[in-house]
């Protein structure tokens, strides 16, 4: 789960990381009032859960409250990579003499949180990392020790931070780590961490992602989820315990397991050519039970582009008979004429096939293998 910039910065502030004292507006009028109360030139920043908002025109300077109104009017309602802007953050404008990158994420290769920094902060940091890896300074953090002062000093020295800022930098880095751990985050990033022309260090922008698996014990964070910022189907899928990502093709896919779900998409792409492709990624997860399967089918069928549905279920912990009952339950609730290709294998798959056959449903073809299923689904989508 991703947090908005304004949520991230509020959380950073609660850990003592210096951030600008801006506020969030949902209307141009609010934006004007906030700018007026700040009394200085401001930046109007789109709050969307995706990157690249600057290039998309989602960040604008405003010299006065009227300009803030105007810019907010333009930005609110904008679509940035399919994310609609519902909120803007009004921050005092800053003078920037230096931009630093400072981020923490999990390094899966060593199984530890990794603190990274570069003196070349800003949006081009990935390019810096690719072209000049040494410009990124790294400290792996032992989870039982936490981030130690000397590690933050090593980074400060490594990025040639002027020594007068070391004390603040060490505090910011340690606060960022505490915030990361105590939020069960998978990402906590300050980019850029700036030195202003007044020689003050603070976090100009911030990003956090929270481990979905840990939200059960981070209720305060779970409540910060902005479902208005997400496609409706993805929200529905999550609430049903599914993973769903909408794509641009015609064949709805319902598969158990992320690897097999991707493979099923790959096979549709491989055999489908230019005209037919997967309509979605959908993993019903392990041990999926009937209700979840029904919810998944409803979500797939809500996509008007879907011309055929491919069920590819290879039971392990998931049991074929339960999937079959789920399909029948969903088709009873959501009648449809869209053709379906069902391929059941693995645990309890014979029982599952018997249930499907016994239901005598129209528009259903069965498939024996993955390749067979993909090809039949492609035929069905083309025939429709």
């Amino acid at each position: 789960m991703n947090l908005h910039e304004y949520q991230t910065k509020q959380r950073f502030a609660s850990y003592g990381i210096p951030v600008a004292n801006g506020k969030v507006a949902t209307t141009p009028e609010e934006a004007r009032d906030i700018a007026a109360s700040l009394g200085v030139p401001v930046v109007v920043k789109a709050q969307v859960l995706t990157g690249g908002r600057g290039k998309a025109g989602g960040v604008k300077l405003a010299a006065n409250p009227e300009e803030a109104f105007e810019k907010a009017s333009k930005i609110l309602g904008m679509s940035i990579k399919d994310h609609i802007v519902h909120r803007v953050l009004i921050d005092p404008a800053s003078t920037i003499s230096k931009e630093i990158y400072l981020g923490i994420t999990n390094d899966r290769t060593v199984g530890k949180p990794l603190l990274m920094a570069s003196s070349e902060g800003g949006v081009e940091i990935e390019q810096v990392a690719a072209e000049n890896p040494d410009a990124i300074k790294r400290e792996w953090i032992n989870p039982s020790l936490g981030l130690r002062d000397y590690q933050a000093r090593n980074i400060a020295e490594g990025i040639n931070l002027p020594r007068e800022h070391w004390g603040t930098f060490v505090k910011i880095a340690k606060a960022l780590y505490r915030c990361y751990i105590e939020s069960d985050a998978t990402l906590a990033e300050i980019n850029p961490l700036i030195i202003t022309e007044e020689n003050v260090l603070f976090a100009l922008d911030g990003k956090m992602s929270i481990d979905d698996n840990a939200l059960y014990r981070r209720k305060d964070l779970a409540e910060m989820r902005d479902i208005s910022a997400e496609p409706v189907t993805e929200v529905q899928a999550r609430e049903a315990g599914l993973t769903y990502v909408k794509l641009n093709g015609q064949i709805g896919c319902m598969v158990n397991g992320a690897g097999l779900a991707m493979t099923t998409m790959d096979m549709i792409k491989l055999y489908g050519g230019e005209d037919v492709g997967p309509a979605n990624f959908l993993d019903i997860g392990g041990g999926a039970q009937a209700e979840r399967v029904a919810a998944a089918l409803r979500i797939i069928l809500s996509d008007p582009d879907v011309k055929a549905v491919l069920f590819n279920i290879f039971g392990g912990i998931t049991r074929g008979d339960e999937v079959a009952r789920g399909i029948i339950q969903a088709l009873n609730e959501v009648p449809t004429t869209i053709p379906m290709v069902i391929r059941l294998a693995g645990t309890n798959s014979e029982e599952g096939r018997a249930i499907i056959d016994g239901a005598n449903l129209p528009n259903i073809r069965s498939a024996s293998t993955l390749t067979d299923g993909a090809k039949k689904a492609i035929e069905a989508a083309r025939g429709a």
Binding site: T50, M116, L260, M262, G287
Partner: protein
């Protein structure tokens, strides 16, 4: 020979009294796995499928000499279950549980490194040495004894591939699902090394997917150390580019996470690449 499990493995099931633990223990017993007992705190003294239930892993190990533990407890309790198995001296721990917070696994990973236990998983389908033993979810019928080692990040994709291999007459030495979580106990490289050293294994099948750099590490290992032929499949070629938050993940991976990059690295290391997992048998010939 085989790797990790065989007919001598003595398996205890942590979470045996749960719905899934009960069901899959039965499947394992039917497969011929030597399940010697189960653990559920507070239910010591009960019996499941004729096997004794203990309150603690320590008690189970003391009573049964178990050397493998399968963990199938809810995610909030899984890290504790792994620590308990490590402390009880269980040599091989197979954690099937999905949804364990990364922070929990960070601690487990550190503890594990300094222990004598090996962890497979979490969030994995387990493993199977066909004809000898199965620990986990793999459907009983898919495997067939033979000399191809199989290692995979994905559960169901493994079943798919193993079933196709068996149907085509390519039996397996051992099939290992390492799990796809960010932090796992046993990596591709670990398993490749075991297969390289296993006399029974003649060829190896590797199934990876997009994200992370485990397949890149595997390619480097194959290039440097493997003498046995490897056939690989990478899932996710059709996945849209990741729209990830922030830059940290990309910096860590160093831009090596796409299917194309992984396929290129594996091909350059000498592996044969399958476009379709059902074509793997033909590439094994």
């Amino acid at each position: 020979m085989a790797i990790l499990i065989d007919s001598n493995s003595r398996v205890v099931v942590q979470g045996i009294t749960g719905r899934e633990g009960n069901f899959h223990s039965l499947k394992m017993i039917e497969y011929g796995t030597n399940v010697v007992g189960g653990v559920t705190p507070g239910k010591g003294g009960e019996w499941v499928h004729g096997k004794p239930v203990f309150d603690t892993v320590k008690a189970a190990v003391d009573a049964t000499d178990a050397n493998v533990s399968m963990i199938l407890v809810p995610a909030p309790f899984a890290a504790d279950a792994i620590y308990e198995a490590i402390d009880a001296g269980v040599a091989l721990i197979v954690c099937l549980t999905e949804g364990i917070p990364i922070l929990d696994m960070t601690g487990v990973y550190e503890y594990l490194k300094n222990s004598n236990s090996r962890l497979i998983g979490p969030n994995c389908p387990g493993l199977m040495t066909p004809g000898q033993a199965k620990v986990g979810f793999m459907p009983n019928y898919v495997g067939m004894p033979g000399n191809v080692g199989v290692v995979s990040k994905s559960g169901t994709l493994t079943y798919e591939t193993v079933a196709a291999m068996s149907a085509a007459g390519f039996g397996q030495s051992t099939c290992v699902g390492i799990g796809g979580d960010p932090i796992i106990g046993t990596t591709f490289v670990d398993v490749l090394e075991m297969f390289e050293n296993d006399p029974q294994t003649e060829k190896v099948v590797l199934m990876g997917e997009i994200g992370g750099r485990a397949e890149i590490d595997a390619a480097e290992f194959i290039k440097a150390k493997m003498t046995k032929p490897v056939v690989a499949f990478i899932a996710g070629r059709s996945a849209p580019p990741n729209t990830r938050m922030g830059h940290a993940g990309a910096i860590v991976e160093g831009g090596q996470g796409t299917a194309e990059q992984k396929i290129d690295a594996l091909r350059a290391a000498g592996a044969r690449i399958a476009d379709n997992p059902e074509h793997i048998p033909s590439l094994l010939s």
